[in-house]
Amino acid sequence: MSASISARYQAGAEVRLAPRPMTRERMRWYVDIQETVQVDDGRIHAQPPTIHDDDTYAKKQGLPGIISDGMITTNWIHGLLIDMFGPAAAGTGRLRTKYIRPIYEDQIVITAVKVVSVLDNERKETVYTLEVWCEDDQGQKLTVGDAQVHQRHA
């Protein structure tokens, strides 16, 4: 591999999405989609109470209230990768996310990607290695991880 001279993003570049509150609705959208995807009949299907949409159930599990499903922030990170790299972000590569702090109702979440390295490979691809994360409005990280995106040369 050798350093690319035609990369759109250079190492060190950082891209952030606008802050989003993790509302009760956002949490429920993800709850509702789970059974909906499994049934796959063109309609929405709800599921029994979860720690993501039912305060009473969440408290019974020892939580102070509902928390977001980690896949929401993973999908927000994926969305930012699609914004940055297009369909290549859904092709060859990797995405790893770890949920290091619970995200509570109405907590502000900022999605971010930082380019760690940019290299060309022998398959005529530019390989972006990335640090990815979500943080709150105090800069405290909530979800952390890394990604690799392979973008074919035009």
Partner: protein
Amino acid sequence: MAVGRYTTDLEQGDVLGPIEYTMSKFVVREYCHANELHQACYQGAEPAFAPPTLVHLDKLKLYKVACPAGTGPTARIHYQYDATLHAPIPVGVKLRVTGKVAERFEKRGRTHVVMEIDMRTAVDNRPLVTYRDTIIVSYQSASERSAA
């Protein structure tokens, strides 16, 4: 082997599936809508591929088949998503998904379960996504649960 009971009972070495299904346009658009993925590649009339994050819901499909008794007494907490992407997930093509419990271990009083999920095309066995999913069986540790 814990297959056939609660998902929280799954043990190292348990194999779930395989299951087969065809990725639909409805699933791609609706899943992306729920996750605010409004990009044209996902919300157009003819999406060609699915977001790779959808592989996570294959875990629930595998659970449903292998563990019909459901979640069990405690709600699991998702801890890590780790997906290696080999090729885009095609829409309208039959897929085959298999799960295997790779690890079950204790850390700081909490039980962690790692499941490896392999997604391929059903017809020609092309690898699409290799996914490693880590959950914590319960938010509370065993001692916290017994004290509650």
